[in-house]
Symmetry: C2
Subunit: 302 residues, 2 copies
């Protein structure tokens, strides 16, 4: 089955203690769509300016991503720049220029409206709901969010929670949103606010999947060299939803597998800047790392 992905498309400038790169392909929709494309056909909804490089449109196309929903507006593309400290877990935003993104009104082409799987990547909850309102027969809706919306659009986020099946967010966001330091309480508290499933991403510590009758803890892949953590969370959620679209089945087994596939793609993403690593990623490499996840978390019965 196909999946619809909406979110930001950006040109990123990223600085780490060892490298600096400008005008990289970035944005939550870019990362999520390329990640999802390894599992199912993607319909992308977003906006770019007339300065958006053709090479990045070609990159999307190479991954079979449908671009009918990508608006090209007069003006410049959304730009973000950020810097990572030595501990790559800490990121500082240096500048944000919304440009054409400021007035983005997502419009779904008719052909997108019946897409069964939906991933609302990180954009404002208002925009996420605006997209949802145009989807006519969703089977499973996943949404991501960020600290900014928790702080500034809490009511809209709470409203969104009642309309989706699964919320994906990171550890600090889960704590901030629920005011709970204990992540188990945080996850279960969000479940009570609407979604049937909650995934808390913990970076180097893996992630947790919560449902009323399910708790699943997935490890992180042991990486010694992380070059750029940008987009790892978007890749996780894109691949997670992409796998569910491929399986076209929402049960505990497919959800657990989706979490692992999400972790696999995210672990490849951070091996290089932007979407560089995913451009050469192959299905055998995905299968190989999935098997390694299995091996590193396996133990015999007691």
């Amino acid at each position: 089955m196909s999946l619809l992905i909406t979110g930001s498309v950006a040109l990123d400038s990223v600085k780490t203690p060892v490298e600096e790169h400008r005008d990289l392909l970035g944005g939550s929709a870019s990362y999520a769509s390329v990640a999802a494309s390894f599992f199912a056909p993607v319909n992308m909804v977003g906006i770019v300016g007339t300065d958006f490089p053709k090479k990045y449109l070609d990159l999307y196309r190479k991954h079979g991503i449908d671009l009918d929903g990508l608006q090209i507006a007069d003006g410049e593309t959304f730009r973000w720049s950020g810097e990572y400290e030595w501990d790559l877990n800490n990121r500082r935003t240096l500048s944000v220029c919304l440009n054409v993104f400021e007035t983005f009104q997502p419009r779904l082409p008719d052909g997108y409206k019946r897409t069964p799987y939906v991933f609302l990547a990180n954009i404002s909850p208002q925009l996420q709901m605006h997209v949802l309102a145009q989807v006519t027969a969703p089977k499973f809706i996943v949404a991501d969010t960020m600290d900014l919306w928790i702080g500034t659009q809490r009511d809209a986020l709470v409203e969104l929670l009642r309309k989706i099946d699964c919320l994906v967010l990171n550890e600090s966001e889960a704590r901030e949103f629920t005011k709970q330091t204990n992540l188990i309480r945080a996850g279960r508290q969000i479940l009570k606010q609407g979604p049937k499933y909650v995934v808390i991403k913990k970076g180097e510590h893996g992630c947790l999947l919560f449902a009323k009758d399910l708790f699943f803890s997935a490890p992180a892949y042991p990486l010694e060299d992380i070059h750029d953590p940008t987009g790892a969370g978007d890749c996780f959620a894109g691949a997670f939803t992409g796998y569910l679209a491929r399986a076209d089945r929402i049960d505990h087994e497919s959800l657990r597998k989706a979490v692992i596939y999400g972790s696999v793609i995210a672990s490849y993403c951070v091996e290089s800047f932007s979407l560089t690593r995913l451009q050469t990623l192959t299905q055998p490499e995905i299968a190989e790392r999935y098997d390694l996840f299995k091996l590193m978390s396996h133990f015999e019965v007691g």
Copy 2:
């Protein structure tokens, strides 16, 4: 097979944001020995003062712990008091009175010297080596440590690493000892300094087991209510070594299982203050939680 455990025996005063208790049974050897006793017979080596309550000696005996190696010296027992913040991951030591522990010279009764499995719980690396020198036929030696020794007795700790089979330490200690922020690098770097195995404990994020040809990531049990984290790490390592003594087999399968049994006992430990919860813990409860660890980390092949 039996195991030898040495470490501190203390009377603890512990304050959390909701409770405060005085003169609790504490110390690394206490926690580790009671935890290990669920798996194998324990020979304990430590020191207490004449003020040490008989009820705590009875508690050890109830767990079948051999006390021939517990010296009762003139003076007062080692006392520690600490306070936890709301985020129970942060602890502040309020006072430390070494008392009889200050001049502790561990002496192994003859009957202890051939104990095949050894756990050197957290005491100074000098004392840990002093104990090791008296052991005549060790099959497997596990040691724990703490930030204090990393800062003040680094050379002795490095020397100890060459004499043991497995080092158990927590996340922040691993980072501090190796000066690596990346835990995977930290674990592998310690492996190069002597021990065949390294376990990094990550509290609410589970733990990691490293060997030259093994990487195992174990989840943490999802606890909503942690009453007192004191001793969880000691319980983990005691049960880990205790299970290996019971299995009497050091291979990847038994090491992985030992990590899970360690996690099970630690998860029960934090449900109440001091060793209260472990006093009523049963084998069926251990088996039940082991099965839950299996369930919460299981996923099908890709």
